[in-house]
């Protein structure tokens, strides 16, 4: 039945349905890259056909009546107003149809919720507005955030009057660090969040699970072919909810192992603290080693870039923040006050607020950001913080 139904759907919708991940004028779901996603697509088509058939029946009778039983055609009204047999039939028949739909749905959801015996476990943390991936047994952890240039999205995104110019192929669905997973392996996700509720969703892999602060939930997926699968945060999580995409790259197992090694992780299990990788540390290593003199100009330049990457989403590019959750840095007590306190709050965050700990950034990025915050937007303290001043 499954194959007949899907063939029938494809026969009728083949000109309209696109087989791509997602394309313009697409009418159906994205092409499945996991068995779960394929099951969901089947269920969608299965239920769709049932409701189309019921709809044709009910509306057909109604429109026949609208055409035939009109006063202007001289039709005289009948006067019946009940029929027990008919009423029993149209109560009972839908019951059976519903049971028919519930059966495949039940087995699918039992499978969906079965997170046992994974081949790989990754802890995923939703943070306003990025994702953190921690490969628990592999010593690999990193942050992943939107890599579409703000200029494409437009000035409304970062507080200027620049015009939007969306053009990149994966506009809003591209990240700096992709999540890499092995093909054909059951990947279990442990999901949580740092601030508000987010939801991790990749349509082609058939998984969507809320990430809830203070709670760990799990979910699983298994990519059945190599490829890049894109998704987005699916639970409203504040200002940049629309700008925290998810990108999963599924590769053969040996490529995956090579990637882990490349990231400085271990292919075998380890209980050491994770080693943060990605743009942050690679940039840090390069710059810490570079023989560039640490001047105000260098620090401000590096600081502006790093600030716009890590801080501006909340505190805004103009330093004016976004009340009430995100205070201004311009003219703020922290940015104009004691240097040690300023360093402390950036490295360790502030409990009970949205201010996250940024200890994972390199010393030179941290020094540059703090220097920038103390000297930009009219905060002319003249303080130059050196990477050596940063003691984590």
């Amino acid at each position: 039945m499954k194959t007949i139904l899907s063939r029938l759907s494809y026969l009728i919708f083949s000109l309209l349905l696109c087989a791509n991940a997602a394309a313009a004028w697409q009418l159906g779901m994205q092409e499945p890259a996991s068995e779960m996603a394929a099951t969901q697509q089947f269920l969608n088509e299965f239920v769709m056909w049932i409701i189309v058939i019921i709809g044709i029946g009910v509306f057909g009778i109604m429109f026949y009546s609208i055409v035939r039983h009109r006063k202007d055609k001289g039709y005289k009204a009948a006067n019946f107003h009940e029929n027990t047999l008919v009423e029993i039939i149209w109560t009972a028949v839908p019951m059976f149809i519903i049971i028919g739909m519930a059966l495949p749905a039940t087995s699918a959801i039992i499978d969906y919720k079965n997170t046992s015996s994974p081949d790989l476990t990754v802890k995923v943390t939703g943070i306003q507005w990025k994702w953190e991936y921690d490969y628990l047994d592999k010593d690999v952890a990193f942050y992943s955030q939107l890599s579409t240039a703000p200029e494409e999205i437009g000035g409304k995104y970062y507080g200027s009057d620049a015009t939007a110019n969306p053009q990149s192929d994966h506009y809003l669905l591209e990240v700096d660090n992709e999540m890499v997973v092995p093909v054909g392996k059951k990947v279990r996700l442990l999901l949580t969040a740092a601030d508000v509720i987010h939801a991790w969703w990749v349509p082609q892999l058939g998984v969507k699970q809320d990430a809830i602060p203070g709670v760990v939930r799990d979910a699983w997926f298994e990519a059945n072919r190599p490829g890049v699968y894109r998704g987005q945060c699916a639970e409203l999580c504040g200002k940049n909810h629309g700008f925290m995409p998810i990108v999963v790259r599924a590769v053969p197992e040996d490529e995956f192992n090579a990637w882990i090694v490349e990231q400085g992780g271990k292919v075998a299990a380890s209980d050491e603290a994770p080693n943060y990788v990605g743009a942050d540390t690679t940039a840090a290593t390069a710059e810490d080693a570079a023989p560039v003199e640490w001047t105000m100009e260098v620090a401000m330049q590096q600081g502006e870039t790093a600030y716009n990457t890590y801080c501006a989403a909340c505190h805004q590019a103009n330093g004016e923040g976004l009340l009430p959750a995100f205070p201004a840095l311009k003219n703020s007590k922290i940015a104009l006050g004691d240097i040690a306190e300023h360093i402390d709050i950036v490295i360790n965050g502030k409990a009970g607020t949205s201010m996250a700990a940024f200890s994972y950034l390199s010393a030179s990025d941290l020094a540059a950001i703090i220097t920038y915050e103390r000297n930009a937007w009219g905060n002319d303290t003249g303080d130059l913080i050196a990477p050596e001043d940063i003691k984590k």
């Binding site: 009910v58 006067n79 602060p213 709670v215 945060c233």
Partner: protein
């Protein structure tokens, strides 16, 4: 015996030409501030609802204007979130619910032979709380941090991150909740206590039945919502941690409480719509409502089931598999009584002698599109499939089919159906039909394509989207502006009817209309029944016996 005492003057120049006409702005304002007449209060409710409908509509058009093309052109993301949040709150609590209460005020006493609502002053108070709540809600846009941007569901802990606009929304919800509860008590008491003795429960018009059941739903769940937002308030300001895991609370608890309110709320906005449609269809089919008894039981079953399906809004929150199965099955079962209703309406039309004036068109539009919304509801009830569709545009399309093509279309049907009885004047049929066809076409242009966006993977509540979603979003935005502008035509038709409409004087304005108000003079006298009328029954039709 003349029980109706139509002793008021039958001038048809104005709807409040009694006790000496209030003239001049101050007199009219004072009249409406102090009136305890159910008809005047009903009128206040309806105009208030329409003003809120236009306000929420402007927010919707700003949203659709931003989504017209990819990239951020008009609004900042934070303001976009404020718009989606306030659009939802204003439409649900400001437009749809008060509009149905307005219908209850006008119609309940007329349909059951009561002199007025049971608690006339309470009735006035219920109404005047609403403009205060609306001031708080709309006013919150002008606070430094803007209106709340946490979504109309106000999920914690995002809602604890908001500014003072959130507190204003919480107090507005408190006020609207008190108003709804008082209104519900009033409606229940009126129906149970003040019904004409000759009208047994099982002969009440279905509109009365649906509102009676709706009123019980309101009393059951509005306090639950009030509790949820009060817990938010204390979490925000008084150090409690109901929804904060760090203090031993649970963010998911908020969702359980909210949706325990939220699902019955869906039926609060749907059952009175069923009532209106069940009045309109038999009138224009000139044939009694099919399956009256099963309609009553179906309404009751839907109301009871609505209390045990709330977690289908939470299939991706991480419920245990047994929990998901329970809520999935319970949700699917709702399709049965809902299906019975649709079948009954179609059977009422079957072999009728139908004409298609504007109320009938909106009622048929309601049946078709509400059924489509019901179908997508069935799709969404399939838990493994809902995992893909939760929080996407598929859901947005689904609930707009239920609430716009459902509740709103039924309200339009009701206005066109009863406005001759209310004003003694007939609306312009050509313009009314134009309003229907424009609404029908643009509604579908706006919302049908959103199913495709959701299936293709576009999340809801995002101010900007990936490029493959661009085409359907443009179509949807064009439809939205067409739909919004069409509603100005409705405003014109109503004002034109009140001011210049052709006077009608026959009691039974519509040939097939059969409930009690159609045996009253047209326009309905300011005080319709001084004493309970004696009724004779002509089949399903009550006739005032003199």
């Amino acid at each position: 015996m003349d029980v109706t005492l139509p002793n008021e003057g039958h001038h048809d120049t104005s709807h409040d030409d009694h006790h000496g006409k209030p003239s001049g702005f101050r007199a009219v304002a004072w009249h409406y501030l102090t009136t305890t007449n159910h008809k005047d209060i009903g009128t206040l409710y309806l105009w208030f609802a329409f003003i809120m409908f236009l306000s929420g509509g402007i927010m919707a058009l700003l949203i659709r204007a931003e989504l017209f093309q990819p990239g951020l052109q008009l609004v900042e993301p934070e303001f976009f979130n404020q718009l989606t949040t306030m659009h939802g709150l204003v439409m649900v609590f400001g437009a749809i619910m008060p509009a149905f209460t307005g219908f209850a005020n006008w119609q309940v006493p007329l349909m059951i032979g009561a002199s007025d609502m049971a608690f006339a002053r309470l009735n006035l108070w219920s109404f005047w709380l609403l403009p205060m709540a609306a001031l708080l809600l709309i006013g919150s846009f002008f606070t430094p941090s803007g209106a709340t941007a946490a979504g109309w569901t106000l999920y914690a802990p995002l809602s604890t991150q908001q500014g003072v606009g959130m507190d204003m929304a919480i107090f507005a919800i408190h006020l609207m909740g008190i108003s709804s509860i008082m209104g519900a008590i009033n409606i229940i008491t009126t129906i149970i206590n003040m019904r004409a003795p000759d009208m047994p429960m099982m002969r009440m018009p279905l509109f009365i039945w649906t509102w009676l059941i709706t009123a019980f739903l309101l009393i059951a769940v509005m306090p639950v919502l009030a509790g949820a937002v009060t817990m938010l308030l204390t979490d925000r300001h008084f150090g409690t941690t109901f929804f904060n895991a760090a203090g031993g609370g649970d963010p998911v608890l908020y969702q359980h409480i909210f949706w325990f309110f939220g699902h019955p709320e869906v039926y609060i906005m749907a059952l009175p719509a069923f009532g209106i449609v069940s009045s309109v269809i038999p009138a224009f089919a000139r044939k009694p409502l099919f399956g009256y008894t099963s309609m009553v039981y179906a309404t009751g079953s839907i109301a009871l089931l609505s209390f045990i399906v709330w977690a289908h809004h939470m299939f991706t929150v991480g419920l245990p598999v047994t929990g998901i199965l329970f809520f999935m099955y319970a949700t699917m079962i709702i399709a049965v009584p809902t299906g019975v209703k649709v079948f009954n309406w179609v059977a009422t039309m079957w072999q009728g002698s139908m004409t298609f004036e504007t109320p009938m068109l909106f009622a048929i539009g309601f049946i078709v599109l509400f059924t489509v919304g019901g179908f997508t509801g069935l799709v969404l009830s399939i838990a493994p499939l809902d995992v893909q569709l939760q929080d996407t545009y598929y859901v947005v399309a689904h609930f707009h089919y239920v609430l716009v093509a459902g509740s709103l279309f039924s309200l339009f049907a009701g206005v066109y159906f009863w406005i001759p009885k209310w004003t003694g004047r007939m609306y312009n049929e050509t313009l009314g039909k134009a309003h229907f066809w424009l609404s029908m076409i643009f509604f579908n242009v706006t919302f049908f394509v959103q199913h495709f966006l959701g299936l293709a993977g576009m999340p809801r509540r995002i101010p900007d989207y990936a490029l493959q979603f661009a085409d359907f979003n443009m179509v949807s935005s064009i439809g939205a502006f067409g739909f919004g502008l069409s509603q100005l035509l409705f405003l014109y038709v109503v004002i034109d009817c009140i001011r210049n409409g052709k006077p009608v004087s026959e009691k039974r304005v519509w040939e097939g209309a059969d409930s009690l108000e159609w045996d009253l003079p047209t326009p309905a006298p300011y005080h319709s029944f001084h004493t309970p009328p004696k009724l004779k029954w002509d089949g399903q039709r009550p006739v005032i016996a003199d």
